[in-house]
Amino acid sequence: MRLRFPWTTNCGLFFTRYEEDQAFLPSRAAKIKVLCLFALLLALPWLVGPYPLRIASQVAIMALGAVGLNLLTGFAGQISVGHAAFMGVGAYAVGALTTKLGLSFWLALPLGGLAAALVGAFFGLPSLRLKGLYLAIATLAAQVILDFAFVRLEPITGGAAGLVLTPPSLGPLSLADDTVFYYVTLALTMAGVIFALNLSRSRVGRAFMAIRDRDLAAAMLGVDLFGYKLRAFFLSSFYAGLAGGMLAAYTRVVTPEQFTLDVSIQFLAMIVIGGLGDVLGSVYGAAFVSLLPIALSYLAQALQGVLPQMVNLLSACQTALFGLVIILFLIFEPQGLAKLWRHIKDYFRLWPFSY
């Protein structure tokens, strides 16, 4: 009999085939663990009430967007401050295509992703010459220009009032139903996460990381720098566009305030807190950033009896607290929640004899 801590799944493994070595889940224990997690996610509508379920859907949408940004910034090393704007392009495309042209939501969603991808790739053009902070400013321009376009292109975007969507349906099921919407979002986000994970262990993902680490050396080894930077922008914005389309279906109204610079910064915060260059990290980060304000308001309510002033104080401090968390992460764990989780697992690998 093997005595082993149940969390420890990847030790004492010896492979005889390259397929096994390259697999995500190299052992049976790891597979079981992931299946349990998956079952938990599937059972969530029965475990929690309607409000937490809506929050879960929202987290899944943000996670999809964050995975997209992580592909661009964490993997390919191209910083973007316009991610929310690209998300907006997807949302407005889905909104306009369904309300003005009467297209099916399921056709409009990939088209919205494509529209965002093309816009993203266009604003990625400066990455040929610009790096780091300079590229950040160039993508900031994208954010500002698109913000402006959302308000001013009234015939398409409905201006400041925005677009109102009718809830899409999936066969006999309506996405207005929280449970149905949750499953659809979950499926899409999981597909997005798996796609990104796969990409990161194959040719394109390696080329992205090579550009991030040493662009000139990558070029000397045959990586077309400009081509791959544009691919990164395209792909990242495609994710953003899909997330935007889902957000449009979630809120059923698309307005310019949903896609401001603040949201772009929040996306950057998600991938920094979650872990740059770590696909699952973006999911942790998205959950953390989306849930923090909710957790804070719960905390405030809980403390209301003891400290009545706390409600106002905490809501005022929210942004400051948010900034504090990011700074703490940058100082103490620059590789984010993903790395923190690995530390915890490493600790338990030898538990209780870890000395």
């Binding site: 390259y18 990409l199 194959s202 394109v204 040493r214 050396a217 080894l221 045959g222 691919r231």
Partner: protein
């Protein structure tokens, strides 16, 4: 008569008013090891940078297998079969040794975003097929034990070896090595010299290397070219170069050469 692999004609490179290279003519024959020597700042690395496409030459032309590559972008030259290593190691620090070497096979792999993202099927087959080739290189350079290590955590000598492995993974016809033995101890130098000879003999790769260690240069190379102040001042067999008065002058200084 040996075939010519690389022909450089009348190559010049200027940075503003500074001439880094002036009218260099040089031919590299298929299968040989050509060493480029010269004092610091002689233009040796600039010359390699022109061949690999990092610098655009101000004048002159470069032919690879008879094809004019003077204005070709670096990644296209890699696809033609020109690989290089760098004087200061330029590895992908946050990637594992395996990923670094797999990236060296970039031009041989085909899968794009869609195939890579779906993975199961096409991309996986491709990964496994090329992994096999990469493992051969890992075996050859004796770096099995660091296969899964992140490159940034390795010692200098090992990093040099990984960089060589990455360049080899490209299966180049022409391999440019910029000071492959700089900063190594005697033992590491001997290992590296053995690898270089094997690469030339077993893999049939043509090598151009820049090196300062005269003993190594004389032992390894079939021919030697000497640069000084951006010009080629001599070219020939190692023994000829040793006797050449202009080379001795460039290395030891005019006065000393006269005294000797």
């Amino acid at each position: 008569m040996q075939q010519e692999l690389l022909v450089v004609e009348n190559l010049s490179l200027h940075f503003g008013g500074v001439a880094a290279l002036t009218n260099i003519d040089l031919t590299v024959r298929k299968g040989e090891i050509l060493a480029i020597i010269g004092p610091n700042g002689a233009g040796k690395t600039s010359f390699l940078n022109c061949i690999s496409g990092l610098y655009r030459p101000s004048g002159g032309r470069i032919f690879f297998e008879g094809r004019d590559i003077t204005r070709l972008s670096p990644h296209r030259r890699a696809a033609l079969g020109i690989a290089r290593t760098f004087q200061n190691i330029e590895l992908f620090k946050h990637m594992t040794v395996l990923d670094n070497i797999m990236l060296g096979r970039h031009v041989h792999l085909r899968s794009g975003i869609l195939a890579g993202g779906i993975y199961w099927g096409l991309a996986q087959k491709e990964e496994v097929r090329h992994r096999r080739r990469v493992e051969e290189i890992i075996d050859f350079l004796e770096i099995e034990f660091i296969r899964n290590r992140v490159v940034g955590s390795l010692s200098y000598g090992l990093q040099k070896r990984v960089e060589l492995a990455r360049a080899l993974a490209l299966e180049p016809k022409l391999l440019l090595l910029d000071e492959p033995m700089a900063g190594m101890n005697v033992e590491e130098k001997e290992d590296m010299a053995r690898f270089i000879l094997d690469i030339a003999e077993e893999w049939g790769v043509t090598l151009v290397l820049i090196e300062h260690d005269m003993g190594v240069v004389m032992d390894l190379s079939d021919r030697v070219a000497v640069f000084d102040f951006g010009r080629k001042i001599a070219e020939g067999l190692p023994e000829e170069i040793k006797q050449n008065p202009r080379v001795v002058e460039a290395y030891l200084g005019g006065q000393l050469a006269e005294e000797a």
